[in-house]
C-alpha cells in the first residue's frame, strides 16, 4: 500500500507530485468549502431563501457542500481512493443505501405529523 497512492483529484484535473502535497491540497479545498459555507450562513443571500423541494435552496447548498467535504475526507484522508473497488463499494454503498432509506422514512413521517398538528384538531398555541 505504502508507495501506491493515487495522486490526482477532480478526475485528473489536478495532479499532485507527492502524497504530502496532496494532503495539503485537500486541506486547502476543505478550508475553501467550509469558508464558503460560513460566509453563506452569515450573509444568507436573499435568492437562496426560496423553497425548493420543501427546503430552502441555501440548505440544499449546505448539504451538497457537506457531502463534497465528506467525499474528500473519506477518499483522501482515509485513503479510500487507494483501496480496492470491492472494499470501497462494501463500505460506501451499504452506508448510503441504509442512510437514504432511514432519512426518507423518518422525514416523510415527520411531515405527516407536522400536518396533523397544523391542520388537525390539536391545539399547541397556549
Amino acid at each position: 500500500m505504502a508507495d501506491e497512492h493515487k495522486l490526482e483529484i477532480f478526475r485528473g484535473l489536478i495532479k499532485f507530485k507527492s502524497n504530502t502535497q496532496k494532503i495539503w491540497g485537500v486541506l486547502i479545498l476543505l478550508t475553501i468549502v467550509t469558508t464558503v459555507e460560513v460566509v453563506l450562513g452569515i450573509i444568507k443571500p436573499e435568492f437562496m431563501m426560496e423553497s425548493f423541494l420543501s427546503m430552502k435552496i441555501l440548505n440544499w447548498v449546505f448539504i451538497i457542500l457537506t457531502i463534497v467535504k465528506a467525499y474528500y475526507i473519506t477518499w483522501d484522508f482515509m485513503h479510500m481512493r487507494d483501496e480496492t473497488t470491492a472494499l470501497r463499494r462494501v463500505v460506501v454503498w451499504t452506508a448510503i443505501f441504509l442512510i437514504c432509506y432511514l432519512l426518507w422514512i423518518l422525514i416523510q413521517e415527520a411531515g405527516y405529523i407536522f400536518n396533523t398538528y397544523d391542520q388537525g384538531y390539536i391545539k399547541r398555541d397556549f
Binding site: M1, A2, D3, N19, T20, I23, W24, L27, L30, T31, T34, T35, E37, V38, G41, I42, M49, N59, F62, I63, T66, K69, A70, I73, T74, D76, F77, M78, H79, E83, T84, A86, L87, V90, V91, T94, A95, L98, I99, L102, L103, L106, I107, E109, A110, G111, I113, F114, Y117, D118, K123, R124, D125, F126
Partner: protein, 325 residues
C-alpha cells in the same frame, strides 16, 4: 484425488495470512466499526431531522443560539467560533494523515511530531465543545415558558433586538428559597430557582412600554412578534415559569428537543473525540517507545488514523445540521 486437492486449497485459503480486498485484518475491522458507527450517527441525525420537520415552523434559529466567542463580550458573532472548531478538527485530521504518511516511510521522529499535533488539536476541540456547552447551558437572555410548553421571548419593539430578563424584571422582596431535602421534608427537593420569578418578570414587562413578546412561530424566516396588548395578554394568561439557559427539560431558545438533541449528538460526538484522543495518546507513546519500529510497520497509526478521520467526518455533518441548516 479431486477431494484431496480441494482440501489443500481450502487449507491455503483459511490458514491465515490472506488479505481479502488487499486490506489487513485490523484495517478491515476498523472499516466494519466505522460503517456501523456511521449508521449510529445517521440514526441520531435522522431522528433530529424527524423532530425538526415535525416542528418545522417553530424550530430555534441556530444563528440566534450560538453567537458567542470566548473573550469577546457583548457582540453577536454567529458561527465564528464553531467555524474555528471545525477548522481545528480538519487541521488535526491533516496532521494525522501526515503522521500516517510518515509512518509509511518509517520516519519515527516525524510520526511522533505529527501525532503530538493531532492530540493537541483534539484537546482544543474537546475544550471548545465544553465551553460551547457551558455557554448554552447558561443562556443569555432568559425567557418565559407557557402552559402549552411554548417559549416566549422579549424583544424591544423598535429595534427588534432581544432584551434580557435582568434588564427589565423588577425586584419583589420574597422569602422564597430553594427547597432542598436537608431544609424541609427530607424526601422532597426541587431544582434551582430561576433568578427572577414570573411575577417579577410580568411586573417589569408592564412597567416597560417598549417591550413586546416574540413567539416560537417562524413566518418569512423571522419569529413572530406580537403587539403590545397581545403580548400582555399572552404573558399574563399563559405564562407558566421563567426559563434561563438550556437543559434537558427547558430551553430558552425554543423547543426543548433542540437542546436534547444538541446535548445528545454533540455529546456523543465529543465522547468519540475524547476516545480518539486517548487512543492517539496510547499510539503516541508506542511510537516513542519504538513499538512500531520493532514491529516493522506503522499500521497501527493508520488504523487509529481511520478512526480519527471518521470523527472529523461526523463533525462535518453535525456542523451542517446543527449550525448551518
Amino acid at each position: 484425488m479431486s477431494s484431496t486437492v480441494s482440501t489443500s486449497s481450502q487449507n491455503e485459503g483459511w490458514s491465515g495470512g490472506n488479505k481479502p480486498m488487499k486490506a489487513s485484518y485490523g484495517k478491515l475491522m476498523m472499516w466494519f466499526f466505522i460503517v456501523s458507527d456511521a449508521l449510529t450517527f445517521s440514526g441520531f441525525l435522522a431522528a433530529y431531522g424527524f423532530s425538526r420537520f415535525k416542528f418545522i415552523n417553530s424550530w430555534p434559529i441556530a444563528d440566534e443560539v450560538f453567537t458567542h466567542v470566548p473573550f469577546v463580550h457583548g457582540q453577536e458573532l454567529p458561527m465564528i467560533y464553531v467555524a474555528f472548531m471545525t477548522f481545528v478538527l480538519i487541521m488535526s485530521s491533516v496532521t494525522m494523515v501526515l503522521a500516517v504518511d510518515a509512518g509509511h516511510h518509517m520516519k519515527k521522529a516525524k510520526v511522533t511530531f505529527y501525532m503530538f499535533l493531532t492530540i493537541i488539536g483534539g484537546l482544543i476541540f474537546v475544550g471548545s465543545q465544553a465551553w460551547e456547552w457551558a455557554t448554552f447551558i447558561k443562556g443569555d437572555f432568559g425567557a418565559v415558558k407557557t402552559y402549552g410548553g411554548n417559549i416566549i421571548q422579549f424583544v424591544d419593539a423598535d429595534s427588534d433586538h432581544r432584551v434580557a430578563l435582568k434588564d427589565f424584571a423588577q425586584h419583589i422582596p420574597s422569602e422564597r428559597v430553594q427547597h432542598e431535602s436537608k431544609k424541609g421534608i427530607w424526601f422532597m427537593s426541587e431544582s434551582a430557582l430561576s433568578s427572577y420569578t414570573l411575577e417579577e418578570v410580568i411586573q417589569g414587562f408592564e412597567a416597560s412600554p417598549n417591550l413586546v413578546v416574540r413567539t416560537q412561530i417562524i413566518e418569512d424566516n423571522h419569529k413572530t412578534v406580537l403587539s403590545r396588548e397581545e403580548s400582555l395578554r399572552v404573558l399574563r394568561e399563559n405564562g407558566s415559569y421563567v426559563v434561563e439557559g438550556a437543559n434537558l427539560r427547558d430551553n430558552e431558545y425554543g423547543t426543548p428537543l433542540f437542546a436534547d438533541f444538541f446535548f445528545f449528538i454533540t455529546g456523543f460526538h465529543g465522547f468519540h473525540v475524547f476516545s480518539g484522543v486517548v487512543l492517539n495518546i496510547i499510539v503516541f507513546f508506542n511510537v516513542i517507545l519504538g513499538t512500531y519500529e520493532k514491529r516493522g510497520s506503522y499500521e497501527m497509526v493508520e488504523k487509529v488514523g481511520l478512526y480519527w478521520h471518521f470523527v472529523d467526518l461526523v463533525w462535518v455533518f453535525v456542523f451542517t445540521f446543527f449550525y448551518l441548516v
